[in-house]
Symmetry: C2
Subunit: 149 residues, 2 copies
């Protein structure tokens, strides 16, 4: 069951992406169409599940297309753990990215609610916080002369 096939425009429509992207993914070998009847692509359930997987990983550049490809095509030639490495690296990237996003979010929310007229230039809270970042960065500039006894 569910051995139905869908045309490229149907898939595009219900996954909310342009036809050109699907063809592009096919060119990359990222999402080959299930079969072709006389040069025309048809997609089956297996392909659609992979497409959902791709979307979830790649959506808005979370994971690059190249890495997504490595992660999901995982045909480990039984010699390199490349898939696993990319996997671990991706998880790490995503973690730090979430962290960065939280910082940015806090900053923006502060800007939104800060009573100061121009929070970017006037707000003391922001000035102090960024000042610390700057001082920390500048510290790298003058490595204190190692005071040897």
């Amino acid at each position: 069951m569910t051995d139905e096939r869908y045309s490229i425009s149907q898939v595009a429509r219900c996954f909310g992406m342009p036809v050109s992207t699907l063809r592009y993914y096919d060119d990359l070998g990222l999402l080959p169409a299930a079969e072709r009847r006389g040069n025309v692509r048809y997609y089956g359930h297996e392909q659609l599940r992979r497409l959902a997987l791709i979307q979830r990983l790649h959506h808005r550049g979370l994971v690059s297309l190249a890495d997504t490809a490595t992660l999901i095509t995982e045909d480990p030639p039984a010699d390199q753990p490349s898939g696993r490495q990319v996997l671990i690296a991706s998880i790490e990237t995503i973690r730090t990215r979430i962290h960065d996003l939280h910082l940015a979010q806090q900053l923006l929310e502060h800007l939104l609610t800060c009573p100061t007229a121009d929070p970017v230039r006037e707000c003391t809270h922001l000035r102090t916080e960024l000042g610390e970042v700057v001082d920390h960065a500048l510290a790298a500039l003058r490595p204190p002369p190692p005071s040897r006894p």
Copy 2:
């Protein structure tokens, strides 16, 4: 105090970014150098704080450079609330982005620990979850003929 000035290469070094990027930001008017002594840029504390702000917002494409510019140069011509709009939009983007990242993270962590040899194709958990996404997407394809009583 702290009225020191730093050359472009010093700033680049301690903020961990190439000189070219600083010049690029200057070209955009995003981070104008404090002053120029005979065509040479010098950066002061105010500029460095702004740079820290830019980094935090823009780091790895969190917020586009254009939006970052709108957010921080906030010279509201006292007629449009464009800054505030971008602010609210950015916060919203970041929220959904964090959400997407959490989904992707869960998926990757599942791939990492799933006992199935090839989790992408064999794991029933994943198959079911993605199957639901697919079914939901496909539902948009055949809008049930509205049964009017």
